[in-house]
């Protein structure tokens, strides 16, 4: 069973994604900020991380920078969950190694599943 970690500070989105992904048969872990996210990554070694950008304590970009420095984490697939979808933001996400991105207000949960499947399969 593939493991997914959701790093997102918005409670509702977190739970909705958790439910949706669980229904799809993934094993889902959650973290509410970047620091917690990094810690969970080290513990759970997920196959994929859904990563929010703007979060308390540590943001998504910093998380990705930390991941790049860490041998154990640098190969984990990251899909960025962006709030703004601004080209500058997406460019930076790509530079830092994000495999894909989705803009919260523009995507349906079903599309999130599709993006996840595309990256790590069922």
């Amino acid at each position: 069973m593939k493991k997914i970690l959701i790093v997102e500070d918005e409670e509702i989105l977190l739970h909705l994604l958790q439910k949706k992904l669980s229904q799809e048969g993934y094993q889902v872990g959650i973290a509410r900020d970047g620091l917690e996210g990094l810690q969970k990554m080290r513990e759970e070694k997920p196959d994929l991380v859904l990563l929010d950008i703007v979060m308390p304590r540590m943001g998504g970009f910093e998380v990705m920078e930390e991941m790049r420095k860490d041998k154990e984490l640098k190969d984990i697939c990251v899909i960025v969950i962006s709030n703004s979808g601004q080209p500058v933001e997406l460019d930076q996400a790509q530079r830092l190694g994000a495999k894909d991105w989705l803009i919260k207000t523009e995507f349906d949960p079903q599309e999130v599943i599709e993006k996840v499947k595309k990256q790590i399969g069922k």
């Binding site: 918005e10 989105l13 909705l16 994604l17 703004s84 601004q86 500058v88 207000t105 349906d108 949960p109």
Partner: protein
């Protein structure tokens, strides 16, 4: 005579001699008289002879001339006809004085015209008794006239001198006033002459640049460029032909707006005035406002996403079975939420335009494909509203360099407006054509139109036509503002024609690179 008295024989001859002598004397006398008479007549000066009581006894032709009266009319008249009320005074004076020389009086002629004269008089005596007066007058009118003119000229000259003095004083005062205004003006002012030398810098401008007038006045642009503190300003002046409300950031907390204007004197340019207005506070407020909207919009997006996803999962059955009625309500709520998301996105786009962060990444696209993909989004709405929709395609493939995402937004806004404000059964025509070196896009509708008195505000933020607000409450009033910014960022133009209750046509152009290059090749 006594020596020859004894010689009687000589008596007759003496008599003859005497007679002859008398005759000669008489002749001499007659000659003398006629001489005197001639002289009297010839003299150009009016001379007349008066009795002791002031009656004219004789007058010469010059007197006739000045008075306009004939000699026979004058003789026997009192000199009152000449001097009026002053007559007695003259007679008294004549009695008292031996001689009157050059006393000024007013002489009246036949028509009672006053003539200024200078009067000369001398009594004529016989055995100590005055038997009459010789009076001569000298016409002063010509001299008076000249004198008057001289006086006038003198007065005029004095007046002129006074005026000049006053003008000088006024100019001085004006200059001081102007200088006081310049010195105390809250804007920074710099005056450059025609040779682009800095002639004047007011205290406010000195404060802005933290330097004194002595350091810079009289220097040319080149010399000023070497002064580090002035560099940003001088570089701006050298770069721009015309400076109008150009922003100039001097320090973290000092943002100026520079405007230059030519100073003309009698239609000739004598230099340039540069006005520096401190806009630090306005800019700060503007930034705060934009940031506020940006943050507010961002903050709104997160809960809107949460609502969107929750509703979606309900509708997809991910959260358990729901009844048909529940589904209907949730579907409507989902739609409302989508509208809210669009509105928030519009707001964010506006703040990005204002922050100057609205990025454009141009790529070459076939413009028709782009338009068709946008039209596809509206297929259902066109069908539902029974709109007669027509797309007039260009005669050839038109490729334009655009930011696809932004251009889609612009086209979508225009078509969306046309469909939204056209009543069911109406007509909407989209046309793409090539006009010279430009692509021209237009959307024509048979909709409600824009009221004439509101047409100049169409492209401003939050504009909504009064007739439109009544018919439909949806719409943020941001679409056309965003569209205009997108088109202009692509170096295009946007405009419209509209008539209330008839319809509107919105146009925009985009430069066609290939057409332009083709155009250049011809030359």
């Amino acid at each position: 005579m006594f020596l020859s008295a004894g010689k009687t024989s000589s008596v007759p001859s003496k008599m003859a001699i005497a007679t002859k002598k008398i005759k000669e004397l008489l002749e001499d006398l007659a000659y003398l008289e006629s001489y005197a008479q001639d002289l009297f007549s010839f003299l150009p000066l009016p001379i007349f002879y008066l009795s002791p009581r002031g009656v004219i006894l004789e007058a010469n032709p010059a007197t006739e001339k000045i008075s306009g009266l004939k000699s026979y009319e004058l003789v026997g008249e009192s000199i009152e006809i000449f001097f009026g009320k002053k007559t007695q005074e003259i007679l008294d004076l004549l009695k008292k004085e031996k001689l009157i020389e050059a006393k000024e009086y007013t002489f009246f002629d036949k028509k009672k015209r006053p003539i200024p004269v200078s009067l000369f008089a001398q009594p004529r005596k016989r055995e100590r008794e005055t038997v009459g007066y010789f009076v001569g007058i000298y016409d002063l009118s010509q001299i008076k006239k000249v004198e008057e003119e001289l006086k006038k000229a003198q007065l005029a000259l004095l007046n002129m001198l006074e005026d000049t003095e006053q003008a000088r004083k006024r100019a001085e005062e004006e200059k001081e006033k102007t200088l006081a205004i310049i010195s105390n003006f809250s804007d920074g002012l710099l005056f450059f002459d025609q040779q682009k030398r800095l002639i004047l810098i007011n205290p406010q401008a000195q404060k802005f640049f933290d330097l004194s007038a002595r350091e810079v006045e009289g220097k040319s642009l080149e010399q000023l460029l070497k002064i580090e503190k002035l560099k940003p300003l001088i570089e701006l002046l050298k770069k721009e032909e015309e400076v109008y409300r150009q922003e100039l950031t001097l320090r973290e907390n000092l943002i100026l707006e520079a405007t230059s204007l030519p100073i003309l004197r009698e239609r000739k340019k004598i230099g340039e005035l540069l006005i520096l207005h401190d806009v630090t506070r306005e800019k700060r407020i503007e930034r705060m406002k934009t940031e506020f909207v940006s943050i507010a919009a961002h903050q709104l997006r997160t809960p809107l996403s949460a609502i969107k996803w929750t509703l979606r999962m309900f509708l997809d059955g991910d959260l358990g079975e729901i009844t048909e009625e529940q589904r209907e309500f949730l579907a409507k709520t989902y739609k409302s939420n989508e509208r809210m998301i669009i509105l928030i996105n519009d707001l964010l786009n506006v703040t990005r335009i204002e922050e100057g962060r609205y990025l454009y990444r141009p790529v070459f696209v076939n413009f028709l494909d782009l338009v068709q993909s946008v039209i596809n989004l509206f297929k259902e709405e066109i069908k539902n509203k029974k709109i007669q929709f027509k797309l007039i395609k260009p005669k050839k493939i038109l490729r334009v360099k655009v930011d696809q995402e932004k251009m889609r937004v612009a086209i979508q806004n225009l078509i969306d407006n046309a469909l939204r404000y056209t009543l069911p059964g109406g007509k909407v025509t989209v046309e793409i054509k090539c006009a010279k070196m430009e692509l021209e896009f237009s959307v024509k509708d048979s909709g409600v139109g824009i009221p004439q008195d509101q047409q100049d505000r169409v492209f401003t933020k939050f504009f909504r036509g009064a007739n439109v607000i009544r018919m439909e409450t949806e719409g943020s009033g941001l679409g056309l503002f965003i569209t205009k910014n997108i088109i202009e960022a692509h170096r295009g133009r946007i405009w419209f024609k509209s008539k209330e209750n008839v319809g509107s046509t919105f146009y925009f152009t985009l430069p066609l690179k290939e057409e332009f290059e083709e155009f250049l090749r011809k030359f």
